[in-house]
């Protein structure tokens, strides 16, 4: 059974492209509570909130290996091709990627922003 400390969030992950936020509980390549799975990049990981199983993890995002931006794994923000690339970087360097990736990219949309613009406040 995972202890409370292991599951406590280390901080809040925020995608620098779409603004998605979620608390993460681990950063690295070996998610806690499992020996059989390793991650191929330094990832921000949380416990899978949709699974009752305590050792299910969910990778939230990682740094773009070109520009270093912290991006989520959502298809509108980044892709993985042996490394993590944010979509702006992929678009800038399309030629470096195989045709399959290029075709795939055409299908993707711009990220929907999750940031909300604040409204004027009455009490100030």
């Amino acid at each position: 059974m995972a202890s409370e400390a292991e599951r406590r969030p280390l901080g809040v992950f925020e995608c620098q492209l779409c603004g998605l936020t979620a608390p993460y509980s681990y950063v690295g390549q070996k998610p806690p509570n499992t020996q059989s799975v390793v991650l191929l990049e330094e990832s921000y990981v949380m416990k899978d909130p949709f699974s009752p199983d305590r050792d299910r993890f969910l990778v939230l995002g990682a740094q773009c290996s070109v520009c270093g931006r912290l991006v989520c794994v959502g298809p509108e923000c980044s892709l993985f091709y042996s490394k993590r690339f944010c979509l702006p970087c992929v678009r800038e360097n399309l030629g470096a990627f195989p045709a399959e990736i290029r075709q795939d990219l055409e299908k993707r949309k711009a990220p929907p922003s999750m940031r909300s613009s604040g409204r004027a406040c009455p009490g100030t």
């Binding site: 998605l20 195989p98 604040g118 409204r119």
Partner: protein
């Protein structure tokens, strides 16, 4: 926990013959169970990400099969790319693999068994291992994508909520102000989001109150889920019987009532830093009171922040109540809604029956069918005033639905079983719409998605309260404009909608702007009691946001005084203190206290719980003969509480016998099992309360002696816990597709009809049963149920006495002509109301003859007074739990009690004539006894019993109060005198005598006084002519003239000789010479004086006239007893004490 199974499987494998590699490669078959098991053994071990036999394991193989098919379709098009690709200048891009492989798109890797453990998996062909591992990688990647997709969707939805733009604003405002009002309509997301904004901003110790328990649970789950700590413990809830609170909890959802109780214990509420009071616009009684308490509390807790959340109704009221608190107003998110006014024409006046005319509703169904294509989705929600109206429309709509095959019609109201309520969330098959017929429960409490059409009848049935008659009345009202808007809004949550209003626009304009707050329409007993126990001062001057009607408050205070909860100065009595802590009706609380004194706690606990929940008898079973027959053995002709008592006990026995299915047992008898679970919960809570207050000895550990059965018990509990966890972790209830009417109409759900084999695995677990067994000590319950069956006749009678005393003064007298009437026409009268009838669920409705006196009055005689006033020793009254007015006035939950004895024991006011042969109880029931001597003797016995019962109860309560105080002070003041508890033998003697008293057979007549008679009941204050001296009868109490009734006050309830009646005038002439057999006294005495002498003489007192002189037993100031006395014989005026007057009069004889 799964270890033994896995080990077994592995042991199995070791003895298997492993096929040689070539053999395996040639006829490799992934579908073979054995092949799969080999891989599962290697890759899906206990410590692996996927475990053998888990749901995930099954999902993987399904995924694997799909992947295999997909890959066989794709021809291997592995043409090599240009190998001389120029190196990229950016290092990260320089070493990308140029030959594309989907594998490179996956950001994780699975360690195979060969890499970790040389022994394992080595016998598997490497080619197959890599095939398998590749599939596994894709499966895990797929799972990641799916979960992330859900997360992103959730966040997007949260961000898109109207309130999302105001989150910062709310936090900012809360920083600067102590109170903030957040106003937003349903759907703006305030209830789920504001708690999360507070959490995210680092707040902890947050309490969020909800008016309903169910909302506490669902919001805690939702907020826990959305804040992605679903299985963590930051978010919890606390309701009457359940709590998920822990040390890690930062925000707790709880009911208003529970928060008030916490304030009661710790008035400064130190455990919270932020309070969110949700749904304040509903103006529930407790919520209004909480606002008042907070308004007073806030100045003393400047660090406490309060967020009031409201629909956009009357916001200024809340803001100004808290010193013009800032308001953050959030617009709702509603799609445009077309309003169509369809006022009902005068047509239904033609059929002016009680039943609602369903035609206007059917016309809307038709209109929708004509105007909108069946493929266009969108369900219909119809708001009706009550259950009867729902029934009327349901019948007609189902006929229409079966003809058109385009509708599934579903009722929705609070009396439905949970399972039936849940059906409204199911989806209709394609081309079919749901038509939900609902009370105003769907206005704010229940949100159903996919509603496009709303029909608003404009009516609501609400309990209104008549403080004069202390009568709850279910009445139909026009709704308010605010409710009408709320109803309309339900059509525009998922898209543009249509709202049909079955009234005119001018009607709408005439509606009240807001609904009447609860405080103005319900009984305030419980509120006043709570206010008293919280020491908030005089309820009359409490600064309510809107004050209750003064008459209601006065009635409540008077009622509590009548019930003995408040004393004359309106302070809480010991019994009142206790009642304030029991979250039940005062009447029920009294029963609990009385019952515990007579060692009847166990049965009274059950009955009190049974009377505090809704009737468990389902409506549909009312008409079913089978149900009625199955239920009959459980019925008790003593009254409905005893029937409920039997039902509960029988159910517990069924639960205890493992082999039987309690769900089925309930269904067969037309019993809603959910209510029985509620009873069990409530019963346990009552029991704990009684134990806490020293009224019931703490539960003895009922653990079986030997270690084997202890182990058994432990294992059993563990298994139950596991079942519960599995259920909670499972997806919960999935939405089902509804069936068309023919099949779904017979009241049973799919699950009932399907055999056990057809059920899904998680359905076969009766989770309610599991929770029940975890929460309750079934053995203790069963013991209580078994001992209930072994109750002696005496105990049962005593139990009835306890109920009757608790229920007093809720009494009804049968109409004298009932025995000549049909079963269904039996009528009863209460003090304030005439012509009440029995509720159809009552046992007396089917067997009213048990209420009749033996000799039915001659029907032909036309009801002369003689007939009605038939002398009988079998007159009975009904003590009832509540009076409910719908289309008729119903007595709910009745017990029959012997009239004469009950009135003598319980009446708050008892008036007599000169020889006590005529008694009037509480100014409305007249009893005439033939034998005046017997009457006096009975009265004397009643007086003595009442005094003893009262003192026993007082001692019991003061002992309990003393114990509690001692606990609190922790024996700091040891010298304080201990209040001795009442001894068992004393209680036994008292119960014996009470039973003897109840068993006396005294013929009498029983009659409800007419209004005129009641008005001219008393002789009134007058110059005193004679004062009886009756030491033996009335104890040592001194008689003083009653200031208004006339006659003499003997005790606080008994007034002697105050009834105006012809016979009084001659009472003095009834003297006859009589010789006392004991002391040979020979005097002309009235019957009363005779009995008084007898009982004094028998008690060993020297009761002879003149004896008082020698033994002045009344050392009180004699002057106070002197009254002007004019002697009719010597025509002189004196100032005499009662004894002096008697002595003087005797001179003339």
């Amino acid at each position: 926990m799964a270890a033994p199974r896995a080990r077994e499987a592995r042991g199995h494998r070791d003895h298997r013959r492993v096929p040689s590699e070539e053999e395996a490669l040639e006829k490799w078959d992934w579908d073979r169970a054995e092949t799969r098991r080999l891989f599962e053994d290697a890759f899906f071990r206990d410590e692996d990400y996927i475990r053998q036999g888990s749901e995930d394991c099954h999902k993987f193989w399904a995924f694997f099969e799909r992947l295999q098919r997909f890959q066989s379709l794709q021809t291997s098009r592995k043409e090599e790319k240009d190998p001389r690709h120029p190196k990229h200048r950016i290092p990260a891009l320089a070493d990308l693999p140029h030959t594309y492989d989907p594998r490179y798109r996956i950001n994780l890797s699975v360690l195979g068994p060969d890499m970790r453990d040389t022994g394992r998996g080595s016998r598997l062909p490497p080619k197959r291992v890599s095939e398998f591992r590749r599939a596994l990688l894709h499966y895990l990647d797929f799972g990641q994508k799916q979960a992330f997709g859900r997360l992103a969707k959730l966040q997007r939805e949260r961000a898109a909520l109207p309130i999302a733009q105001y989150g910062d604003c709310i936090l900012q405002t809360l920083k600067q102000h102590q109170v903030v009002v957040v106003a937003g309509d349903t759907g703006c997301g305030k209830s789920t989001q504001v708690p999360q904004y507070l959490l995210a901003a680092g707040f902890s110790h947050v309490a969020c109150t909800q008016p309903r328990r169910i909302a506490c649970i669902s919001l805690a789950k939702r907020v826990g889920f959305e804040s992605l700590s679903q299985y963590g413990s930051q978010v919890g809830y606390q309701i009457r019987f359940e709590s998920t609170r822990s040390a890690a909890t930062k925000i707790v959802f709880l009911t208003v009532g529970l928060l008030l109780r916490q304030i009661q214990r710790e008035p400064s509420l130190p455990q919270y830093k932020v309070l969110i009071v949700d749904e304040v616009h509903e103006r529930q009684l407790h919520s209004d009171f909480l606002l008042g308490v907070l308004q007073r509390l806030l100045p003393t807790r400047p660090d406490l922040k309060v967020v009031l959340m409201s629909a956009t109704i009357n916001i200024a009221l809340f803001s100004s109540y808290f010193g013009n608190a800032p308001v953050v107003q959030v617009p709702g998110r509603l799609f445009p809604i077309t309003v169509i006014y369809q006022p009902q024409e005068a047509e239904q006046t033609a059929s002016k029956s009680e039943k609602l005319d369903p035609r206007p509703f059917l016309r809307v169904l038709e209109a929708i069918d004509n105007k909108y294509a069946a493929e266009e989705r969108g369900d219909l929600l119809v708001f009706l005033s009550g259950m009867a109206e729902i029934g009327a429309v349901l019948e007609a709509a189902q006929t229409y639905a079966s003809r058109t095959q385009r509708w599934v019609v579903l009722p929705l109201h609070s009396a439905l079983s949970v399972a039936d309520q849940d059906k409204v969330f199911d989806v209709a098959p394609p081309g079919v719409r749901k038509c939900i017929l609902s009370t105003n429960i769907a206005e704010t409490s229940v949100t159903i998605e996919g509603i496009r059409f709303v029909v608003d009848s404009g009516k609501v049935k609400e309990m209104s309260y008549d403080p004069q008659a202390k009568l709850q009345r279910l009445q139909e009202f026009w709704i308010s404009q605010a409710s009408a808007e709320q109803r309309k809004g339900r059509a525009g949550r998922t898209g543009p909608g249509v709202c049909y209003r079955l009234y005119a626009e001018s009607d709408y304009d005439a509606f009240a702007p807001y609904p009447v707050p609860e405080i103005r329409r319900v009984a305030l007993d419980a509120l006043v009691l709570q206010m008293k126990s919280m020491s908030v001062g005089d309820p009359r001057t409490f600064p309510f946001i809107e004050p209750p009607p003064p008459a209601s408050l006065e009635t409540a205070i008077q009622y509590l005084r009548d019930q003995g909860a408040l004393d004359a100065s309106e302070a809480l009595t010991p019994i009142g203190c206790l009642l304030a802590q029991l979250p039940v009706d005062v009447v029920i609380g009294k029963m609990l206290i009385l019952g515990s004194m007579f060692s009847l706690a166990e049965p009274v606990l059950t009955i009190a719980a049974a009377l505090s929940v809704q009737s468990p008898f389902t409506r549909s079973a009312q008409s079913s003969l089978e149900c009625a027959a199955a239920r009959r053995p459980l019925e008790s002709d003593q009254g409905d509480p005893f029937t409920l008592f039997n039902v509960f006990n029988a159910w517990v026995q069924v639960k205890a016998e493992r082999s039987r299915n309690s769900r089925k047992w309930c269904r067969r008898r037309g019993v809603e099992e959910h209510r029985l679970y509620e009873m069990a919960n409530l019963r346990r809570q009552f029991k704990e309360l009684l134990e806490d207050h020293g009224l019931l000895a703490g539960a003895q550990e009922a653990t079986p002696g030997d270690s084997y059965s202890r182990l058994q018990q432990r294992l059993e509990r563990r298994a139950l816990h596991q079942l519960k966890r599995q259920h909670e972790e499972g997806a919960g209830r999935r939405r089902k597709v509804l069936r068309l009417q023919e099949e779904a109409d017979d009241g049973s759900s799919d699950e009932d009809r399907a055999g056990p084999a057809a059920r899904r695995a998680d359905d076969s677990v009766d989770i309610q049963d599991v929770k029940f067994k975890l929460r309750h000590n079934l053995e203790q319950l069963q013991a209580a149920a078994s001992s209930a069956q072994a109750l002696t006749r005496e105990q049962l009678l005593l139990l009835k006495l306890v109920l009757a005393r608790g229920l007093y003064p809720q009494l009804a007298v049968p109409d004298p002509f009932n025995s000549g009437r049909k079963d269904s026409d039996q009528i009863f009268h209460t003090q304030a109301k005439q012509g009440a009838v029995l509720h159809p669920t009552s046992v007396f409705a089917s067997s009213p003859e048990v209420l009749h006196t033996e000799e039915p009055p001659a029907t032909g005689a036309g009801g002369s007074r003689d007939d009605k006033d038939k002398m009988s020793s079998k007159h009975q009254l009904l003590a009832f739990v509540s009076l409910l007015e719908t289309n008729k006035l119903y007595l709910v939950n009745c017990v029959r009690v012997p009239a004469l004895q009950s009135l003598l024991l319980f009446s708050r006011s008892l008036d007599t004539n000169g020889d006590c042969s005529r008694l009037v109880a509480d100014g409305w029931l007249e009893l005439q006894l033939v034998d005046s001597e017997g009457a006096v003797r009975l009265l004397g016995a009643a007086l003595r019993l009442r005094a003893r019962w009262e003192s026993a109860l007082d001692r019991q309560l003061s002992h309990q109060a003393w114990q509690q105080q001692r606990q609190r002070r922790q024996r700091l003041e040891e010298d304080e005198e201990e209040a001795a508890p009442i001894s068992r033998t004393e209680v036994a003697a008292l119960s014996r005598e009470l039973l003897q008293f109840m068993a006396t057979k005294v013929p009498c007549s029983l009659r409800r006084l007419t209004g005129l008679e009641a008005q001219n009941l008393y002789v009134g204050p007058q110059t005193v002519t004679a004062t009886p001296s009756l030491p033996g009868l009335f104890g040592s109490s001194t008689l003083s003239p009653h200031p208004t009734k006339g006659g003499y006050s003997v005790t606080d309830f008994l007034t002697y000789n105050c009834l105006s009646s012809d016979t009084d005038l001659y009472s003095d002439c009834l003297r006859t010479f009589w010789t006392c057999p004991r002391c040979d006294l020979h005097l002309p005495l009235t019957p009363l004086e005779r009995v008084a002498h007898e009982s004094a003489c028998a008690a060993g007192l020297d009761g002879g006239p003149g004896a008082e002189e020698a033994a002045p037993e009344q050392p009180q100031k004699p002057s106070a007893l002197q009254r002007p006395y004019r002697c009719d014989a010597c025509h002189r005026d004196f100032l005499f004490t009662p004894t002096e007057a008697l002595r003087h009069r005797r001179q003339h004889m």
